[in-house]
Symmetry: C2
Subunit: 234 residues, 2 copies
């Protein structure tokens, strides 16, 4: 299984997909064409999304074809060299993927070795469920069950920040609620600018910031690039 | 129908339920006992939640009885003088309410005149769906359909703030996604410290901050306490 799970497409103030570009190029190696899933887009069109992603992938010499332009999206994914799932709204994404049978194809093909790249919502759907998304549930999917390519949950865009004078929950409080309600699961709080790379049964944290681990009954703690994180795959 | 829909239990730096206390007292008038729904609590016990709420309601001379201590919670609600639904995690709340048949009772009794008070998640469940909650979907309810006591959606804890250097969506972006995906719905962004009071077919905004209205095809705009908001009930 080969996965590149990216926290966010774009760091504040940078160009779209700028920071993860070299990691994507290295991960995809000789791949010349990818199948792209744009269904997390809500306030802009799938065509516009494809154009944005194609512009960046062109710099890597990679052709991007989007499932939304195919008459049989599941068939296209089942024949893809690599699968790329973009960010946006996780609920919109997973609902469309369920309706088109794309999660089923991903569950079959990625364990066979087809590389998977996701960012933000695209990293959420690689997890067992979408229960640790930050997104608003603007549409109702058939189920919260996702692709389950890894056995733990990712919280992308993990942040320690909280607006002054705001009484809503912090991100840490939300994830402590998740582990309380799901006592057998581990959550990786993946800060912006960070990436998890899974390959040959091993997992590596790439980036310049630590990742925060949440498990029921343990105080949350930090792990760093270079640390052995393979416990996440147990 | 009589509803008091409160954005948040507690303003930052204040005591629990301090700011809405007088409004609750005024709204509940001669009520001497309320039925309380504590199921939004996740990281603290329902007993602790009841104790906290009872402490504040005792100052108003109101006895609080919680459904979690009853052998037949739906029956208790069906006989209540008034219904109070507390905040916490909206998904945990609505899941338990669905499992115990409490939404069905609320849909019957509140239109008959039983007063309903909710804050945060308790305001979300008064809406047609929970699709405009800010909470993490830590558990999966049977459906996103909620009590539908009002025909519009509330976004409680509405905020204009966004952490510096963070690339995730602003609250406004999330709600623009919602109205894009749900073009017939209106969302009321209810800032902290604010309350909506519905009575005799009229709705009033109470508080010191404006409320932000979201509808597909219109730029979001502000309404203020004293404005005619009855279009929300159309």
């Amino acid at each position: 299984m080969r996965l590149l799970l990216i926290s966010n497409s774009t760091n504040a103030g940078e160009a779209y997909l700028e920071y993860p570009k070299r990691q994507i190029a290295d991960f995809l190696g000789g791949v010349r064409q990818v199948a792209f899933v744009p269904y997390a887009a809500v306030t802009f069109s799938y065509d516009d999304y494809l154009t944005k992603v194609q512009a960046r992938f062109s710099e890597l010499g990679i052709d991007v074809r989007s499932v939304h332009r195919e008459s049989d999206p599941a068939r296209m994914l089942s024949q893809a060299e690599a699968i790329v799932v973009g960010g946006g709204n996780t609920f919109a994404l997973v609902k469309a993927m369920q309706e088109q049978g794309l999660l089923r194809v991903i569950r079959e093909r990625v364990p066979e070795g087809v590389p998977y790249v996701g960012w933000s919502a695209g990293s959420n759907v690689a997890c067992p469920t979408i229960c640790t998304t930050n997104d608003m549930p603007i549409v109702e999917p058939a189920t919260f069950t996702a692709a389950g390519l890894v056995p733990f949950q990712i919280n992308p865009h993990y942040t320690d920040a909280h607006p002054d004078g705001h009484a809503g929950e912090t991100r840490e409080q939300r994830l402590l609620e998740y582990v309380e309600a799901n006592p057998c699961m581990t959550v990786a709080g993946l800060r912006e600018g960070c990436i998890l790379r899974v390959e040959n049964g091993r997992i590596e944290l790439i980036g310049e910031r630590p990742m925060r681990i949440f498990r029921k009954g343990q105080a949350p703690y930090e792990v760093r690039p270079g640390d052995d994180l393979n416990f996440l795959l147990d």
